[in-house]
Symmetry: C2
Subunit: 187 residues, 2 copies
C-alpha cells in the first residue's frame, strides 16, 4: 500500500516538471502514464490477491486435514490406551491361572482357592470393561488370526482343523490381538 | 479480475462516443475518469489484500494453536491412558490383598499363598510400569492430598499428625491420585 502511493506521487511530480514545455500534451501524457501505471498496479494487486487467497484456501485445507488427523490419533490412542498395561499384566494372569489349577482335598485350601478364583474373575472382568477378552480356543475352528498352532495331532472322531488343546490363553483388545492363543490343532 | 477489465473497456467506449464534441477535453476527462477509477480500484484491491492477508495470519495462528492443543490432548490422553483400567482393577487387587493376609499352619497352603503373593507382586509391578503406585501411608505424616482420614486417635509416644493405620491402600497414577489411602491418624 505504502509503496504504490509513493509511486503515484512520484509520477505526479514528474508531470509537474514537464509542464513548461507543452501543458496539454504533458498533462495528457502524464495522465496516460498514471493510468497505465494504475492499471498495471491493479493487475499486479489482483494477481497478488489471487495468490494470497490461494494460500489461504490451501492453509484452510491443511488445517482441516490436521484437525481430522488429530482426532483420529486421539481416537486411536483412546481405543488401545490400555494395551501396554494389559500386555504387562498377562504374565501375572497366566501365573494366577496356573496356581488356581492346583487340586486339593483340604477344605480350608479349597475355600482359599475359591476366594482366589473370584479375584481372578474380577481381574478378567476389569479387562473386559476395557475391551480386552480371552480368545476362545478349545473346540473352535483353528483361526490363524487369533490362534498360534504349536502342535498338530490326528485325533479320530474330531473334525479336522479344530483346536483340541490350549497351552496359553490368548487375549484380544477390541479388534487387536494382544497375544494369540497357543494351541494344539487336529489335522 | 474479469470484472475490472470489463469496467475499464466500458469507459473507453464512453469516451469514444463523446469524441465529436471536444476531442481533447473529452479525452482528458475520460483519462481522468479512468485514472480515478483505476486508483479507486487500486485502493479497493489494497484494502481487500490487507484483509485477506489478515485472515491468513489469523488462520495461521489458529492452526498453530490447534496443533499445540492437539499435541497436549494426545500427551494427556497418553499420560493417564491406563487410569480407567487401573480403577477397575483396584477392587480385585484389594480382595487379593485381603485373601493373602490369611494365616495358616498348613505347609501346602503356605506354599500356595506364597505363589499367590508372587502373582500379586507381579500385578503391582505391571501397574508400576504404567506409572501407578501404592501410596505410602503408615508412619508417614498425614497428607490430605493422598490420605483420607476416616478415624483419629490419640496415641502417646507417636508424633501428632502421623498415619498410624491404613484401612485401604491408596493409588497414584503419575501425578494424579486415583484413590486416596483410607487411614487412621494420630491427633
Amino acid at each position: 500500500m505504502q509503496n504504490s502511493d509513493q509511486a503515484v506521487e512520484t509520477e505526479v511530480n514528474d508531470s509537474g516538471a514537464a509542464e513548461a514545455v507543452n501543458e496539454t500534451s504533458s498533462e495528457e501524457a502524464s495522465l496516460e502514464d498514471q493510468l497505465v501505471h494504475a492499471q498495471e498496479k491493479t493487475v499486479e494487486l489482483e494477481a497478488k490477491l489471487a495468490e494470497v487467497e490461494n494460500r489461504y484456501y490451501r492453509l484452510q485445507a491443511d488445517f482441516d486435514n490436521s484437525r481430522r488427523r488429530a482426532r483420529l490419533d486421539l481416537e486411536s490412542s483412546e481405543k488401545y490406551r490400555a494395551q501396554k498395561l494389559i500386555s504387562d499384566l498377562l504374565p501375572s494372569i497366566d501365573n494366577f491361572e496356573r496356581a488356581l489349577q492346583m487340586e486339593t482335598d483340604n477344605e480350608q485350601m479349597k475355600s482359599v482357592l475359591q476366594g482366589m478364583e473370584m479375584v481372578y474373575r474380577g481381574l478378567l472382568e476389569a479387562l473386559k470393561n476395557e475391551g480386552a477378552e480371552q480368545i476362545e480356543a478349545v473346540g473352535k475352528e483353528f483361526d490363524p488370526q487369533v490362534h498360534q498352532a504349536v502342535m498338530q495331532v490326528e485325533v479320530e472322531g474330531v473334525e479336522s482343523n479344530i483346536v483340541v488343546e490350549e497351552f496359553q490363553k490368548g487375549y484380544i483388545l477390541k479388534d487387536r490381538v494382544i497375544r494369540p492363543a497357543m494351541v494344539k490343532v487336529n489335522l
